[in-house]
């Protein structure tokens, strides 16, 4: 049972591990969501925002997780470019749609939160704008993976783009912050207070944990699919070569 990192990096070993671990991971995810939602139901109203603060328990974890997923993809991209490990690209490619889904969820709930709080569906608030840019970058990456047919070529191209994004994201964030303060000085109602009460912090942390467990579960399942897809592709090529 003792799995070293090298063994884990073998696709077949990884598939075995996923098959064994998946029931526990899925169970933990469901359990964490159950506990999180019960805690959210018991959480107090915000004195300023009323019950709309409940949206925060989805919005904020989705935002965290979409950024965390990008970080994970950046680590995978280094694995692809430096060690040329096939599993690294499988990891990055499987993570992209999940990260895009979290970013979408963050934008969607942010918009729903903005309507009662700010009075508009969309505010060019620095955070929302940065999240929109992240969402577009996810979509661009997925488009790149879908356009280049050869997996190893697509892997390298995507890895380069992910790392360029990692370098540029802080610059984009800074420029958007700067642009936003230039256009509308401090009129924006801040979504988060400077401090958060423990009675709201605990439900938020449990929900964040639940979303993280969901990410790991879905990511491993998607990685398994990707490995299978590559085997199908390789076998299909072999079959075509044999028929010739």
């Amino acid at each position: 049972m003792a799995l070293t990192l090298t063994e884990l990096a073998n696709p077949t070993r990884f598939m075995g591990l996923v098959t064994r671990a998946l029931p526990y991971l899925a169970g933990a995810t469901v359990l964490l969501f159950a506990v999180g939602l019960i805690l959210v139901a018991g959480a107090p109203e915000d004195y300023q925002q009323g019950m709309t603060v409940m949206i925060m328990y989805i919005h904020v974890p989705a935002a965290w997780l979409s950024m965390f997923t990008y970080g994970m993809m950046a680590a995978s991209a280094i694995g692809t470019l430096v060690w040329r490990h096939p599993l690294a690209d499988v990891s990055a490619k499987a993570a992209a749609p999940i990260g895009a889904a979290f970013a979408f969820l963050c934008l969607f709930t942010g918009s729903l939160w903005g309507k009662p709080m700010w009075g508009t569906w969309w505010e060019w608030d620095a955070r929302l704008t940065s999240m929109l840019v992240l969402f577009i970058m996810y979509l661009g990456l997925i488009a790149l993976w879908r356009t280049i047919e050869d997996p190893t070529r697509a892997a390298r191209a995507a890895a380069v783009l992910i790392l360029v994004g990692t370098v540029n994201l802080p610059i984009i964030k800074f420029s958007v912050d700067w642009w936003n303060t230039l256009h509308q000085p401090a009129s924006v109602f801040r979504m988060d207070g400077p401090t958060i009460d423990p009675s709201m912090l605990w439900p938020l942390l449990v929900m964040a944990l639940a979303f993280t467990a969901l990410l790991v579960t879905l990511h491993w399942m998607a990685m398994r699919n990707e490995i299978l897809r590559r085997r199908v592709r390789a076998l299909g090529l072999m079959a075509a070569g044999g028929a010739r």
């Binding site: 577009i136 790149l144 356009t147 070529r153």
Partner: protein, 222 residues
Amino acid sequence: MNAYRSLFLRELRIAVRVGGGALMGVLFFLIVVTTIPFAVGPDLNLLSRLGPAVLWIGALLSTLLGLDRLFEADREDGALDLIVGSGRMLELVVIVKVLAHWTATGLPLVIAAPLFSLFLAMPPATIGTTVLTLLVGTPALTFLGAIGAALTVSLRRGGLLVPILILPFAIPVLIFGVAASTSVLLDPAGFFTPFLLLAAVSLMAGVVGPIAAAAALRGGLD
């Protein structure tokens, strides 16, 4: 050094000759600048306020749309494989190619900008700052765009993908470029902060662009 100079001259000659498409960018720029008044209306006050933004968007779009020629033509006739296989530093090759491409397609945009700004009834001060920011900012767009062009070099139909991939990275250039161009109307001293930030973003793009584009080319060709 000689090799890089002859590469630069070769790129320029190819871009300027018939079918090179160097002037297409300026034409497209003109099209964007003339289309926008039809959409927003002929109100000169509004147009002069939007002027720098219109010029910047036009320059951004025509730069991004002209990028597919950067490596594509050389790949088709095999010249790119020879360049990569020549053992020269690929990053430097990319820098030379980008600079030649900018001279052929980006510089004409900068030169045409004061002419087009008359259509938009822009005041002289804004014309000056807009041209200056375009001069500093468009190389950044070309350097960033080189990444997209290199990533999609092996694709038959990568044309639309390049702007999608590169646009997020161009946001800071656009923000600081337009801010520096327009701020001069409110407060002449407000010009320098965004202008210096734009210059910083340009220098940064000049470093990140060639490194990433070279990595993408190595990955895409073997």
